[in-house]
């Protein structure tokens, strides 16, 4: 990954306030927003279309599981972590195996998770 090409993060989160917060933190870390999605379809489309380096994935999008998004990310070997208010063990298999950040999150923890997306 070259130094002058910014790292692009896709934020998949249906709660606008949280999405906004995530975007700010991503930018604060020095990365770029590769897109925001609030539904599974939207997320899958952006993964397909956009040049993305890592993904923050909310486990539940408008009432449905984002497991299929996780599967798509694994298929493309894109690093991601799962964000959820559920306990990790309550998540479907496709999601509970991934790195996990529990809501409500701590900003430092969020920051280190975002940084970890690029280190992989």
């Amino acid at each position: 990954m070259s130094g002058n090409e910014p790292i692009r993060i896709l934020v998949v989160e249906d709660e606008p306030a949280i999405a906004a917060d995530l975007c700010f933190v991503v930018e604060e870390v020095g990365y770029e927003i590769g897109g925001t999605a609030s539904s599974v379809d939207e997320a899958l489309k952006l993964i397909e279309d956009e040049d993305i380096d890592g993904v923050i994935l909310d486990a539940n999008l408008r009432g449905s599981s984002s497991a299929s998004v996780a599967d798509a990310l694994r298929a493309r070997k894109l690093p991601f972590f799962v964000l959820s208010g559920y306990l990790q063990r309550q998540l479907p298999e496709a999601l509970c195996g991934a790195p996990f950040l529990a809501k409500p999150y701590d900003q430092d923890e969020l920051t280190s998770r975002i940084l970890a997306l690029a280190r992989r």
């Binding site: 709660e15 306030a17 949280i18 906004a20 559920y86 409500p104 999150y105």
Partner: protein
């Protein structure tokens, strides 16, 4: 005449005296001193009398002759039995003197025959003659026929007679015994005694009075069961007699203690003396002077259960026939008491069985109801795979099986009631229990016959025989479907509530962080407070509506509550009643809050002239229904687009776009800020109930 003279001549020639033949009576006639008799000397007797006497004496049939105005008696040998000890005294005596005791009956009859020539005929006429020192009950069939005298008048009465006493009494006793035998079966011993007494009461001749006492060994007394011819409770038949008590009045007056010890066939005889006071006579003119006491021993018992006191006919000797009759009476009473006891015992057994069956049925019904209430079915089976065992009705109910058909065998339950894998678990558990005797408990998903999924708790234990060997399994199957569903609902709800709470906390933290980034500490406190309050207001509406959505007019008013005096004048809300989804309500609510804040600070609501018009509704865009909403300010200070966009700007643009999945525009037109939202209807509006 000639023939008669010849006959007398012969008689005279033989002995020098009148000769009447070789019979004992003839001899007595010949030997008698006739001088003092109203008949006079035989040689003076009319020919007709002699002829009649000749017939009489030559007859083997009892015949008597009554001759003359005083009806003097002559008779033959066969007649001796009737006279008993009156013979030979009676020979030639006036009938009235021979039978003063029955003269009231026979006198008029004889007189009638003698004076009017009217013959009589009597059958089985009861006559109580004195015989052998006592008045004797006797029955006679006889006729009185007039005998003409030599001069053509009636000289006497001819009387052939047969004593029918034995037949009459025999028939009477037989009738009593037959009636006793024909009695309907009594329900208990007391009734048996009373029924027997009702028969004995009819035969007062043989039983002037009688009483039946039942022994009550535990109380040491005898209890009067029934009595005939005597008042129950009187001095002859007290209601209770203390056995063996020597008191002459209140004690054991009949000596029943002794009777209680008698073996069948033995009797006791008691004289009826002054102790009993005036004893009843029954149909007789005199009271009985003795009684026979029989022990009544029921079949299969060795001690008397009761005693029969039978007063003896004062006019009849207690001969073998009489004793036999009384013995049969006692035996009949014993057998009908035996029958009654057996019947009562039988009935008691039947009643016991009925009561037990009733109790069993009640227990069964109770068990059925309890199973229904507890949603528990039970199954008992041998443990063999092909065994259907026995199931309770509720088991069929749980699985929706035909309750009248036998339950499916264990192997048939595989795939039908339980998925194969679940059946295997159950099979393993039952085999373990059959092997070790340890009980098991399993929660298993199962299927009803109609395919509906249910959940059951199965408990099983080993059934053992009397030698403690395991012979099968007893199991209960409890339908816990509802509990399981409720549990799952609660778990889901808990997960959801936790999820929402955490989400909300995350939102609050995000709002706090975003607010802090832009504002000074003092401004932060105010702005953060307002934003959380706005969030709270839309949340309140959501909760009020049970999380089903929020009405858009109410939502708008709640977010602009700060300006509520301007509603209807400078703030106009236009649109149909619209229920928006929970997520959309939060995004729209926050956006309205930020718009209102900005309008109050810099826009239309910062002066006293500006107007805000909020409109929403449904339009069609490319055939798809779309939700549209517009915030339009006018009449305020001229608008200058801000150089730096804060959190509010992000909320107004991004949040709505995110949450609604539509287009959002914010135009800083000089005449006033215009905010427009357009989103697919489904993303915003709560669909009609019933859909997900």
């Amino acid at each position: 005449m000639t023939a008669g003279a010849a006959w007398i001549n012969v008689a005279e020639r033989r002995s020098g005296r009148f000769f009447f033949g070789d019979s004992e009576t003839a001899a007595a006639i010949a030997a008698a001193n006739w001088a003092k008799s109203p008949l006079g000397l035989p040689q003076t007797w009319p020919n007709r009398l002699r002829v009649a006497l000749e017939i009489c004496l030559n007859s083997a049939f009892p015949i008597a002759l009554f001759w003359g105005g005083e009806l003097c008696l002559l008779y033959n040998d066969a007649y001796h039995g009737l006279l008993a000890d009156k013979h030979p005294r009676a020979l030639g005596r006036p009938a009235r003197e021979v039978w003063p005791e029955i003269w009231d009956v026979i006198g008029p009859m004889l007189q009638g025959a003698l004076t009017d020539g009217v013959p009589t005929r009597s059958e089985d006429l009861q006559l109580h003659m004195m015989r052998n020192g006592r008045r004797d009950e006797g029955y006679f069939t006889f006729s009185y026929s007039p005998i003409p005298d030599d001069d053509g008048t009636i000289g006497g009465v001819f009387c052939p007679v047969v004593e029918t006493t034995d037949r009459v009494i025999g028939e009477r006793r037989l009738r009593t015994l037959r009636d006793l035998a024909a009695l309907s079966r009594a329900e208990n011993e007391g009734e048996a005694c009373r029924l027997a007494a009702s028969v004995l009461a009819v035969n007062g001749y043989d039983l002037p009075f009688s009483a039946i006492y039942r022994f009550d060994e535990s109380r040491g007394e005898a209890e009067l069961m029934a009595a005939t011819g005597v008042r129950p409770g009187g001095s002859v038949a007290p209601l209770r007699i203390p056995l063996g008590d020597p008191d002459p009045i209140r004690g054991d007056i009949w000596g029943l203690a002794e009777v209680a010890r008698l073996t069948p066939g033995r009797v006791a005889i008691r004289a009826i003396d002054a102790r009993f006071g005036e004893t009843p006579c029954g149909p007789w003119s005199a009271a009985a002077d003795e009684a026979v006491l029989f022990p009544i021993v029921l079949l299969g018992q060795d001690r008397a259960a009761a005693a029969l006191i039978a007063a003896v006919n004062p006019f009849k000797r207690l001969d073998a026939a009489y004793a036999y009759f009384l013995d049969r009476v006692a035996a009949k009473i014993a057998s009908s008491m035996t029958d009654a006891r057996a019947y009562a015992a039988e009935r008691e057994r039947a009643e016991e069985i009925r009561v037990r069956e009733l109790a069993l049925r009640r227990t069964e019904a109770e068990l059925r109801e309890a199973q229904r209430l507890g949603r528990i079915g039970s199954w008992r089976w041998s443990g063999r795979h092909d065994d259907r065992g026995g199931a309770s009705p509720y088991l069929a109910h749980i699985f929706g099986l035909d309750p009248d058909a036998p339950p499916p065998s264990f192997s048939e339950q595989k795939g039908r009631l339980y998925a194969p894998a679940d059946w295997e678990r159950l099979d393993a558990a039952t085999r373990e229990t059959l092997r070790t005797g340890e009980s098991f408990e399993l929660d298993l998903p199962a299927h009803r016959a109609d395919g509906a999924a249910i959940h059951v708790t199965i408990r099983g234990e080993a059934v053992r025989d009397e030698r403690d060997a395991i012979v099968g399994l007893r199991s209960t199957i409890q339908d816990i479907t509802e509990r399981k569903q409720a549990q799952e609902r609660v778990e889901l709800l808990l997960r959801e509530v936790t999820h929402r709470a955490k989400n909300l906390l995350t939102v609050v933290r995000a709002v706090a962080r975003q607010t802090a980034r832009r504002d000074s500490p003092i401004a932060f406190a105010q702005r953060f407070d307002q934003r959380i309050a706005a969030l709270g207001a839309s949340h309140d509406l959501l909760v009020q509506n049970e999380w089903r959505g929020v009405e858009l007019h109410a939502l708008t008013r709640s977010q602009l509550a700060h300006f509520d005096d301007l509603f209807g004048s400078r703030i106009r809300i236009e649109g149909p009643t619209t229920i928006v989804k929970p997520a959309a309500s939060q995004a729209i609510g926050m956006a309205l809050h930020e718009l209102a804040t900005n309008a109050g600070k810099y826009g239309a609501l910062s002066t006293d002239k500006g107007v805000v018009r909020i409109a929403f509704g449904v339009t069609s865009e490319g055939g798809e229904p779309h939700f549209e909403m517009e915030w339009r300010e006018s009449g305020g200070p001229s608008v200058v687009a801000p150089k730096r966009h804060g959190f509010g700007h992000m909320v107004i643009l991004q949040m709505a776009k995110h949450a609604l999945g539509g287009r959002v525009t914010l135009d800083y037109a000089p005449t006033g800020v215009v905010w427009k939202v357009s989103a697919p209807l489904d993303n915003v509006i709560e669909p009609p109930q019933g859909e997900d």
